[in-house]
């Protein structure tokens, strides 16, 4: 039962789950801007570390793969577009990797 579209499903679910877990952190950090601008500044300086940059790239990938995979799903379900789904799913992953790599290249 482990076929390409099954992996696409798993990737969509796991990326969605991780993004949902990341969101509260994201919101909390941004809300520091009014409460404690210095804390935000020192937090942002963390993003200069290579490991943090890699983690950010991971987040960009998660967001990209969730949206591109999601657009594929909606085209499949709501437009009835069903041929070439495996190619489309692979394309969504490739596009997301591209976006994440571009992000990393600009970050360093």
């Amino acid at each position: 039962m482990r076929r390409p579209l099954w992996f696409a499903f798993l990737l969509h679910r796991v990326s969605g789950l991780l993004l949902a877990l990341f969101l509260p952190v994201h919101f909390w950090v941004l809300s520091l801007a009014v409460r404690d601008a210095d804390a935000l500044e020192s937090f942002l300086s963390l993003t200069e570390r290579p490991l943090v940059k890699l983690a950010e790239m991971g987040l960009v990938f998660l967001l990209a793969v969730h949206i591109f995979g999601g657009l594929r799903l909606m085209a499949l379900e709501l437009l009835g577009w069903s041929s070439g789904q495996k190619t489309a799913a692979a394309g969504a992953v490739a596009l997301s990797l591209g976006a994440a790599t571009l992000f990393l290249l600009r970050a360093i």
């Binding site: 949902a20 941004l30 409460r35 960009v60 990209a64 976006a99």
Partner: protein, 107 residues
């Protein structure tokens, strides 16, 4: 566990978010160059109606979308059978409040 109404909400929130996420991705890739700073972020967003509305709408849509998504995961992977509505709307309201306070903080 989804019925037609939740499914519709899930897809509508996704459709609302689609252009916003693409914009957000582009912005991230653009803004990361040279590092992030409070001044840079606030310089863009503070006092801006556009970004306030942009991220306000984004937060509302993502809260609903994440609430419904986590509901399905709780049902299928954790075997949760009851209290699914509480999970959905608890997550949605919690995320919505956190998110809106973040948007208020930076605009």
């Amino acid at each position: 566990m989804l019925n037609a109404r939740l499914f519709l909400l899930q897809r509508l929130s996704a459709l609302v978010m689609a252009p916003l996420v693409l914009g957000h991705l582009a912005l991230m890739i653009y803004a990361i160059q040279g590092g992030l700073s409070v001044g840079e972020i606030l310089g863009r967003t503070q006092g801006s109606w556009f970004w306030g509305l942009y991220y306000g709408l984004f937060v509302l849509a993502v809260s609903v979308h994440a609430g419904i998504g986590l509901r399905v995961i709780a049902h299928e992977w954790l075997g949760l059978r009851r209290g699914l509505d509480a999970v959905t709307w608890g997550v949605a309201v919690g995320l919505g409040l956190l998110g809106l306070s973040a948007v208020l903080a930076v605009t």
